[in-house]
Subunit: 408 residues, 2 copies
């Protein structure tokens, strides 16, 4: 008998019939002898509907009130779930963030969980009932309702699993698991049987939208095994677990990409201490996040500085940088928002050389010019022209033979 | 400068535009130098929509979960209100039942308010902000969400007004006040300028659906003046206040009616002690409420017993009574659900004789037979055939010259 936390996303609870299907799934898990805690999202589309109502009332909705509004979405699904479960003869009890409580800081719209009291949940489980938790929401010490941001229900699920010392946290979604790359781009994309937390983090932050990144960090910190799977089939999905020895045999686990990129270059910047700070301080003060930064030293005392920002921040950043360029005496500012980032991810890279070289060769063989490179222990990212995105993803997926699966 | 609690019902907040209108009204009250606490209902239709969702999930929705579901309605309106208010430049802060808290017992769906902590509301008012409270909902000591039943937002408003020792509680609705009778039946119906709590209680319980009855009881107990008025006009409505000397000059304040009646008669019941208990105990045990009871002694040791119940309980009550009739040896059980109750209400009756006689005469003059009569200090009710309802209401309204207003 295990204690399992199951999280179902918005498409899995999109209407009354789907909620009933989810109830059947949960009851079946319970009837196998497991204790089950269910974490639910709002019905698909509901959060967007509420946001549009909010914007009708206030151009930039007050964050505290927006959280009061948005948290109703999950409140509706947990209540409906418990009713359906009782109709099928299994007692289920719903819990809102403030009832457990799931305590957070007061950063409305992107709150972080501080702690979770597991007493009420345990009481319900001890009675043989199903505990049903509203995802995405928490409460401050003052009693204000907070939300955790997009995908926050994943984080709720993992945090609840950790608080209860659960055996497993299952994340049910509308895809069958984590793929070696985007199946929409590459028909050979293969569902991964398992993947390490670190790889999942790189995949998530690089654009694979299966799991919310904070939930993976949380799971990694507490070694909570995650099972990402579909709520529409019984096929096993992808286990996200602690790195083990077999994983190192796999050179590359996945290929990811992101089109949400823009590049800015300052040419012939005087190369003196403090110049990077002069450029990047105003950008971060404006709340924009710089991703890659590359500095090329030229002959003499001049240098070129190139960096990338999310595409949505491109124009605002350009304005800022042009002002700074004048102040620090840079010769020219150039920008480009027709770029994309393709990356390969794999813990096997740590112990194998030549992976980067192979990646560049594959791209070159397909006539794709690499504009910028950045690497970490377990990933290599290349900035390329946006029009080559699909070609690059397919070429890398094929070149590293990802369609073949683990070559153990 | 006064402290005013304003409650707006579902039709007043039915969509975003109407909510904005309500915000303008509240801000205008505030700009006149008043502190304002706003209590809101769910958007019109929302509660019914949620109930239909619930019934899709469970034939008899679990009361605790139903309250979790239904309480989202008010949560949405208070958040939207606060956003709109901020957009118009006035800070407003929303409060859910559990945030204040409004503590209730755990009778889900018809909870009673135990107490209200006014600290958080006062803090907000002291900052010059508008406090916006979700109507209809509360919280148990355990942290479970409760709702107060249909019309519960009126009760929330009065209870909050009492807790804050407010100067006035305004109930905004879609009618202009309390009328001398139903304007849909009698075009001469006149809006009453003021009415006593006692009269309002009789009017409310007799079928005038302007104010929830518990809110009037609450207001009466704490002498909180109520102002029932329309949110769509600026016309003053009806003040519901403590009885004063001028009111006694008014013989009859209003004529009300109810079609929600059914009558059951047991004939030739043996007239011995305990017989009434034998009849009515099983009915009340089954949760049904008997209204009028009339016992006529016949010659000898037999009596007739007639009583009324809500029409929805008619068939179930008949079943019960037939069983009891056999046990106690009553000769016959007859029933009739084609009846209605018409009543006249007025504190002036206390000091004036002949009101009842005049009522019966008016009905007789119109060929309306009186089937049952019941009286209290300030009201007289007659059971008549249902088909005479409108005729009786119009006749009494005209006969007591209610269209003329106070004859002070």
């Amino acid at each position: 008998m295990a204690l399992i936390v199951q999280k179902y996303g918005g498409t899995s609870v999109a209407d009354c019939d789907r909620i009933k299907n989810v109830v059947r799934r949960v009851i079946s898990t319970k009837k196998k002898g497991n204790d089950v805690v269910v974490v639910l999202s709002a019905m698909a589309g509901q959060t967007n509907h509420l946001i549009s109502l909010a914007k009708e009332m206030q151009e930039f909705p007050n964050p505290r009130e927006l959280d009061v509004l948005l948290s109703t979405g999950e409140q509706v699904t947990i209540a409906l779930f418990c009713m359906a479960s009782r109709e099928m003869g299994v007692e289920a009890v719903s819990f809102l963030g403030h009832q457990i409580p799931i305590r957070t800081d007061d950063a409305h719209g992107r709150a972080r969980i501080a702690d979770i009291d597991s007493d009420k949940l345990r009481t319900v489980l001890d009675k043989g009932q199903i505990a049903v938790v509203a995802g995405f929401q928490g409460v401050t010490d003052y009693g204000d309702i907070t939300t955790l941001g997009r995908g926050g229900s994943d984080t709720t699920a993992v945090a609840v699993a950790v608080a209860l010392d659960a055996d497993l946290c299952e994340i049910y979604t509308d895809v069958e698991g984590v793929y070696s790359t985007d199946p929409n781009i590459c028909s050979d994309a293969r569902k991964l049987e398992k993947i390490s937390y670190e790889e999942m983090l790189e995949m998530a932050s690089l654009g694979a939208k299966v799991l919310e990144i904070r939930s993976v960090e949380f799971a990694m910190r507490y070694c909570m095994p995650l099972h990402v799977r579909s709520s529409f089939t019984d096929t096993p999905g992808t286990m996200v677990v602690k790195e083990d020895a077999t994983m190192e045999n796999i050179l590359v686990s996945g290929v990811t990409y992101s089109r949400d990129e823009a590049r800015i270059t300052l040419s012939r910047v005087p190369d003196r201490p403090g110049i990077a700070a002069a450029i990047f301080k105003p950008i971060s003060d404006a709340g924009m996040v710089v991703d890659m930064i590359i500095q090329n030293t030229r002959a003499g005392e001049l240098t070129d500085m190139t960096f990338t920002v999310p595409r949505g921040d491109y124009h605002q950043t350009m304005e800022l940088v042009k002002r700074v360029a004048g102040e620090i005496g840079a010769e020219k500012v150039a920008g480009d928002d027709n770029i994309a980032k393709v990356s390969i991810v794999g813990v096997g890279m740590r112990n194998h050389s030549g992976v980067a070289g192979k990646m560049f060769q594959i791209l070159a063989d397909h006539g794709i010019n690499v504009l910028m490179i950045s690497t970490s222990e377990i990933k290599i990212s290349c900035i390329i022209e946006e029009k080559f995105t699909e070609l690059a993803v397919r070429a890398l997926h094929e070149g590293f033979e990802l369609e073949k699966g683990p070559a153990v």
